[in-house]
């Protein structure tokens, strides 16, 4: 049985970029800033592509929700070996306040339409760090879920997944169809090389809107304020042990 795999790839601010908060505290500066695919989604894409190479999967479809530039992220996924992409166009205010619940609904809908057997997602995005999409997608579809996957193996009609949990590893077996979220140590994603990116330009990207899928993306939250984490206070140098003890007592540490 060849499976169809759906992978999610979110476009986020590149991991190496220093994040700056907008002066009006409405969000972070995104204009003219380098974006790339969420690293955890890259791991998910890699795993899906490997499934295809091992002939476990017949087709790999990548989905990205966001503005026009999300297509670049999809292009990267296509260059890594994904067969085709679906760009769910969400822009403006809707995009700024797009929540995991909306993305889950979109993914669930696409998974049904495309008759997918496995949904592979990154465990969380490095921008909002919600870590909710995979769980909610599984719940919406009423499919089993295996989150924080560290290893995935197919055993006749089921998937055996090694999960990273607090203080150890857990092995679970899930029936297909299932939702899986990738943890950091699942694999080492390949690099999307220039020749492959060129070749990927020939691969199809379908553009849809949430409306086409029957999903409402009305904002559910309101951002009140976005602020920098508190800066570390400067330390002081002390002359000798006695002053050190006195100072420590002063701040109530001893």
């Amino acid at each position: 049985m060849a499976l169809r795999v759906l992978v999610g790839c979110k476009r986020v601010i590149d991991y190496a970029v220093r994040i700056r908060v907008k002066p009006d505290k409405t969000g972070v500066v995104t204009d003219g800033i380098k974006h790339s695919m969420n690293p955890f989604d890259e791991i998910a894409v890699e795993e899906a592509v490997r499934m295809k190479e091992k002939k476990i999967a017949s087709e790999v479809i990548a989905v990205s929700c966001g503005p026009m530039q999300s297509q670049e992220t999809l292009r990267t996924a296509l260059a890594m070996g994904v067969d085709r992409g679906i760009h769910v166009d969400v822009s403006g205010k809707d995009y700024e306040l797009l929540q995991p619940i909306h993305v889950s609904k979109i993914l669930a809908k696409i998974a049904q339409e495309e008759k997918c057997d496995i949904i592979l997602l990154g465990k969380q995005a490095i921008d909002d760090d919600s870590n909710q999409t995979a769980q909610m997608t599984a719940s919406l579809l009423n499919w089993p879920q295996a989150t924080y996957a560290s290893k995935i193996e197919k055993t006749n009609g089921e998937l055996q997944v090694l999960r990273e949990i607090d203080g150890g590893l857990e092995t679970v077996r899930v029936k297909i169809p299932a939702v899986i979220s990738a943890d950091l140590r699942l694999n080492e994603p390949r690099y999307a090389t220039l020749p492959n990116i060129m070749k990927a330009k020939k691969k199809p990207i379908k553009k849809v809107t949430p409306g086409d899928l029957g999903v409402e993306t009305d904002p559910r939250i309101e951002i009140l304020s976005v602020e920098d984490p508190p800066e570390r206070q400067a330390g002081i140098k002390v002359e000798d042990v006695d002053t050190l003890i006195a100072k420590l007592k002063e701040v109530g540490r001893i």
Binding site: Y15, P39, Y191, T193
Partner: protein, 87 residues
């Protein structure tokens, strides 16, 4: 140098330039050094030697890819797994 090798060398240069965009010390730094490295061997005419240099270029590509991967992995590990273990 025959024409197919010429194409390969140009392609190698382009691929390396593309990789240089993410270089930690910046694109300029990478590009300057890359150009110097290519210019150093511009007089090479022996086909076998060119073949060897091309192979070295491919090796460098693999090394840079590995460098980027490790850098990303380390950053993520520091950000998300710092307290869990000290591996």
């Amino acid at each position: 140098m025959n024409s197919s090798q010429r194409g390969k060398v140009i392609q190698l240069y382009k691929n390396l330039l593309f990789l240089g965009r993410e270089y930690p010390q910046g694109y300029e730094y990478f590009r300057d050094r890359l150009k110097k490295a290519f210019l150093k061997n511009k007089g090479v005419t022996d086909q076998k030697e060119i073949q060897m240099l091309l192979a070295r270029g491919e090796y460098v590509i693999k090394e840079i890819e590995a460098l980027y991967m490790l850098r990303k992995y380390r950053t993520l590990k520091q950000r998300y797994y710092a307290e869990k273990d000290n591996r």
